[in-house]
């Protein structure tokens, strides 16, 4: 059977998109529609599952199967669907409040179980749909309607949380890095297991410019480290800056003419990933984007179905009459 050929518009639903004009979600939606159309999979095999929040309106705009569920609970719905229909390509959409605050418990258990689905976390570091309260990724001291004197809370680092919870695939992209985002979406889809993609997303109403310090075209090259497996960890004008190991810490150096002393990116190296996710652009450090960590291990849905198959192979298809006529039985 030949793979179906789709255009982006085949993945656009007939519903009016209702995000604020200028929202970063528009770009993400466009890239997702483009990438899903390109994967060569029948459209009916895609299911988009979301929680609650601005980002979670996403399924309504995709011409696929979609389920807009409960605040924070999308991982549980997606798990139930994926173990039931392992042949589906399940894409989960969530935000920083949805995934990391009300849904934190479900997210870490999703990572631990390694259910084979793709998680897109739109991180805008603010609550948008409820009109501008600080979120679990807002910086300490953030002044909002609910924190007029500044937020008291240390923010989560979503990628560090994912690594700590045992995620098998940890990556990051940015709403306005359109080509990079498409590449990361397509790459996430190839991973068997929970693919976690954090997407920095600008909320131009309640937290405008949260990421412009490294996403603006003028500074982007100087501040962003594009992670490429097998390539040296270098960035900046003419790739002059690089990361080396200084004891057990990363250090930024001027590369000079010889890149051989610079660390080479290896997404299978958990220790390196742990150091890379800690880089936040402060001081002379870059903001890394791309694939931080990837590990091949059994998926929950695969193992779940394997147990069913094993039970049927060992015990045959269960007969109801035998199930009932068992235990402490007698005849009168």
């Amino acid at each position: 059977m030949t793979a179906p050929v789709y255009k982006k518009k085949d993945f656009m639903s007939d519903q009016l998109v209702r995000w604020c004009p200028g929202c970063g979600d528009y770009s993400i939606l466009s890239q997702v529609q483009t990438v899903l159309a390109s994967l060569g999979r029948p459209r009916e095999e895609f299911a988009v599952i979301s929680g609650i929040g601005c980002s979670s309106r996403f399924p309504y705009y995709m011409n696929t199967y979609g389920f807009h569920t409960l605040h924070g609970r999308a991982p549980a719905f997606a798990t139930g669907l994926k173990v039931t229909r392992p042949e589906l390509s399940v894409w989960m959409v969530t935000g920083d409040g949805d995934a990391l605050s009300i849904g934190g418990n479900h997210l870490i258990h999703l990572f631990r179980r390694n259910v084979d689905l793709n998680v897109m976390l739109f991180n805008n570091r603010i609550y948008g749909l409820t009109k501008g309260q600080y979120s679990p990724t807002s910086e300490i001291g953030k002044k909002t309607k609910s924190s007029p004197m500044g937020s008291l809370e240390e923010p989560f680092n979503p990628l560090a949380l994912a690594l700590g919870a045992g995620a098998s695939y940890v990556a990051r992209s940015v709403d306005v890095f359109t080509q990079h985002l498409r590449d990361q979406l397509a790459a996430a889809d190839t991973h068997r297991g929970t693919s976690f993609l954090e997407i920095y997303q600008n909320c131009n109403i309640f937290n405008d410019g949260a990421f412009t310090g490294f996403t603006d075209r003028g500074v982007r090259d100087e501040r962003v480290l594009y992670l490429e497996p097998g390539q040296p960890l270098v960035w900046g004008t003419e790739q002059r800056k690089g990361l080396v190991l200084d004891g057990l810490k990363l250090k930024v150096v001027d590369v000079g003419d010889d890149v051989s002393h610079v660390l080479v990116h290896d997404p299978s190296n958990r220790t390196l990933a742990t150091m890379l996710v800690a880089l936040d652009g402060s001081g002379d450090t870059p903001v890394p984007v791309g694939l931080f960590y990837k590990e091949e291990r059994a998926t929950y849905d695969g193992a779940f179905q394997a147990q069913v198959a094993e039970a049927r192979q060992k015990l045959g298809n269960g007969e109801l009459a035998k199930l009932i006529d068992a235990g402490d039985t007698w005849t009168v």
Partner: protein
């Protein structure tokens, strides 16, 4: 000499680590195989091992068995086995005057008495006057019986429950063989432990026979069961088997999402090995994930089921509302326990009726069915799946700790007579609308991901009828609220006419759920006295049976006994403007027959 008795109630009581539930289960099994009708009441503390020897740590197991139909585990006990001082003093009040009490006299040391908060030993004061007591050094005799096997004292003492069981078996003329066979299977890989327990069991029986302290032994003739095949079963097991049967009836996999909670965990344990029957189980990270995963599975075309107790239902409320809105099938099992909050985890109660009916935000109607006995759980499970699938709606099963853990003989059902369950799967994309309703059932099609040409979106936002698009239209919202309620109401088509037991005038006793047996016994007792009394027992709480209003109006008095502070009574008054009176008990224990009978007499005399 052997005497004949029509019915006997025995209670085994000891520390929660003494294995009383185990020997109670063995006695139940043997009794079922001997052909008696029976009902059981496990009664244990929430702590796995409460401090040994204390009153709080006492674990009891009561069994009522008879040569005739019985409906309850019995009010008073005829015989008590007490393994220590605390077990004796906490259970003696339920022993009838002149009843038999087998006491482990090794459980009355000074330390045991202190832990039981006793000044003097009940073996030495007049506590046991008026009973036939048989003090027996059960611990010592058990150690002697297993001495040759070289066990540690601790290991030897673990067999003393079987010594006690052996004694009871002799008193009631029971065959040791079923228990010997069970022990042999259980300890096939531990021959020393097997031999020790067999020694203890046989030594107990022989000791009882030898000492001639028992003036009489008792025989309870076989009950007059209808011919057929029977199985001794608890409510939780019957629910699990019923769910597996429903899976086979629909031809779909049944997905059970659950988080461990007393007293519902046994359903998860029972279903987990049923993979080859088309049942999958998912132990979730919490109650919310359990129900959400079940809804996700229903979205994918499985029969989504979640099981819990009252505290779990409180957590699942928002998700159940989503299943109402998304119009997906979902079965929610609530094995009720004492509440509120953590309450009395191992004790029974019926206080989650209003939570099941109304415990969600917004107008969120669901179907509610309550099994009336352990074996009735089988039929209830199939009905609940049928309701959920055919109306695309959540359906509650309101069981309780008493019928969940209690056992009774179950006449094995005729599998060909089970109701058909017909899911409304839609695969034809021509003219497909996600919320297009069947005009008869008002149910929407079940279109599962993976079906070509029917991609659509659902969710918790209000839907436009037909298209399923998000809608804020005021009139559409009212229409949708009304149609979701009407859809549930239409399930009345599956409810048979209400059975009336008893007279057609006088006091009508209306119950629901696990109180059926006690109410039946109380009603029959009053009718024997000449009172005009009738019983109806509701299995369907939403929708209610179509004929209920007419029946209620035919009686002068309506009495509603419940193990809560009056919940069904509110529903009946609301639905039918009937002057129903409430009779409430909320002590973590089932009704006694005489409590129901007293309430009927008072109502009749009012």
């Amino acid at each position: 000499m052997t005497q004949s008795a029509a019915n006997v109630v025995i209670r085994f009581a000891g520390d929660s680590g003494d294995g009383m539930q185990l020997v109670g289960g063995q006695f139940t099994r043997t009794t079922a195989l001997a052909g008696n009708d029976l009902a059981t009441l496990p009664d244990f503390p929430a702590e796995i091992r409460a401090p040994a020897g204390t009153r709080e740590g006492v674990s009891g197991f009561q069994i009522h068995f008879a040569s005739h139909d019985i409906f309850t585990p019995g009010d008073e006990t005829d015989a008590l086995v007490a393994m220590n001082a605390a077990a004796l003093v906490t259970n003696l009040p339920r022993l009838r005057a002149g009843g038999l009490v087998i006491v482990n006299s090794d459980g009355f040391s000074a330390g045991d008495l202190t832990k039981a908060r006793l000044q003097t030993s009940p073996l030495e004061d007049d506590t046991l006057a008026g009973y036939r007591s048989v003090p027996t050094p059960i611990t010592t005799l058990t150690r002697n019986a297993v001495e040759e096997l070289g066990l540690s004292t601790k290991e030897a003492d673990r067999c003393k429950n079987f010594f006690a069981l052996g004694m009871v078996y002799w008193v009631y003329g029971r065959d040791l063989a079923p228990t010997e066979a069970w022990l042999t299977a259980k300890f096939s890989k531990k021959p020393v432990v097997l031999q020790a327990n067999l020694n203890a069991l046989r030594a107990g029986r022989n000791y009882a026979q030898t000492i001639e302290l028992f003036q009489d032994t008792w025989e309870v003739p076989k009950a007059d069961f209808a011919p057929g095949r029977y199985r001794n079963i608890t409510g939780n097991t019957a629910l699990a088997i019923g769910l597996a049967a429903a899976a086979q009836k629909t031809g779909q996999t049944l997905f059970y999402g659950s988080y461990p909670i007393t007293p519902a965990s046994d359903i998860l344990h029972a279903l987990a090995p049923f993979k080859h029957y088309g049942v999958t189980t998912f132990q979730a990270e919490d109650e919310i994930a359990a129900v959400c995963a079940a809804i996700g599975a229903s979205y994918g075309g499985n029969i989504g089921v979640t099981g819990t107790s009252g505290p779990g239902v409180a957590l699942k409320g928002e998700a159940i509302g989503l299943a109402v809105m998304a119009e997906l099938p979902l079965v929610v099992i609530c094995v009720q326990r004492g509440g509120p909050s953590t309450g009395l985890p191992t004790k029974t109660e019926q206080a989650d009726l209003l939570q099941a009916l109304y415990g969600r935000n917004g107008e969120a109607p669901v179907a509610v069915i309550a099994p009336s006995s352990p074996s009735d759980c089988f039929r209830t499970a199939i009905e609940a799946v049928k309701f959920a699938v055919e109306a695309m709606v959540p359906c509650f099963i309101l069981s309780d700790g008493y019928i969940g853990n209690g056992a009774e003989p179950w006449p094995l059902p005729d599998l060909d007579a089970l109701p058909d369950i017909t899911p409304a799967f839609r695969t034809d994309p021509e003219g497909f609308l996600p919320y297009e309703r069947d005009p008869e059932t008002l149910s929407r099609p079940w279109a599962i991901p993976g079906t070509p040409g029917m991609e659509h979106r659902i969710g918790g936002l209000e839907k436009e009828d037909g298209t399923g698009n998000v809608s804020y239209d005021p009139k559409n919202h009212q229409h949708m609220c009304e149609v979701r309620a009407a859809k549930v109401q239409k399930l009345q088509r599956f409810i048979p006419p209400t059975a009336i037991h008893g007279d057609d005038e006088g006091v009508l006793v209306v119950g629901w759920g696990g109180t059926w047996g006690a109410i039946r016994s109380g009603v029959d007792a009053c009718r024997k006295e000449g009172l005009k009394v009738a019983q109806i027992h509701l299995r369907n709480l939403n929708p209610l049976p179509a004929d209920l209003g007419d029946i209620l109006k035919r009686y002068d008095r309506v009495l509603v006994p419940e193990l809560n502070l009056g919940q069904l009574v509110k529903v009946l008054r609301d639905a039918y403007l009937v002057d129903a009176r409430s009779f409430c008990k909320i002590q973590g224990q089932p009704f006694l027959t005489r409590e129901i009978a007293d309430a009927i007499r008072q109502e009749a005399a009012r």
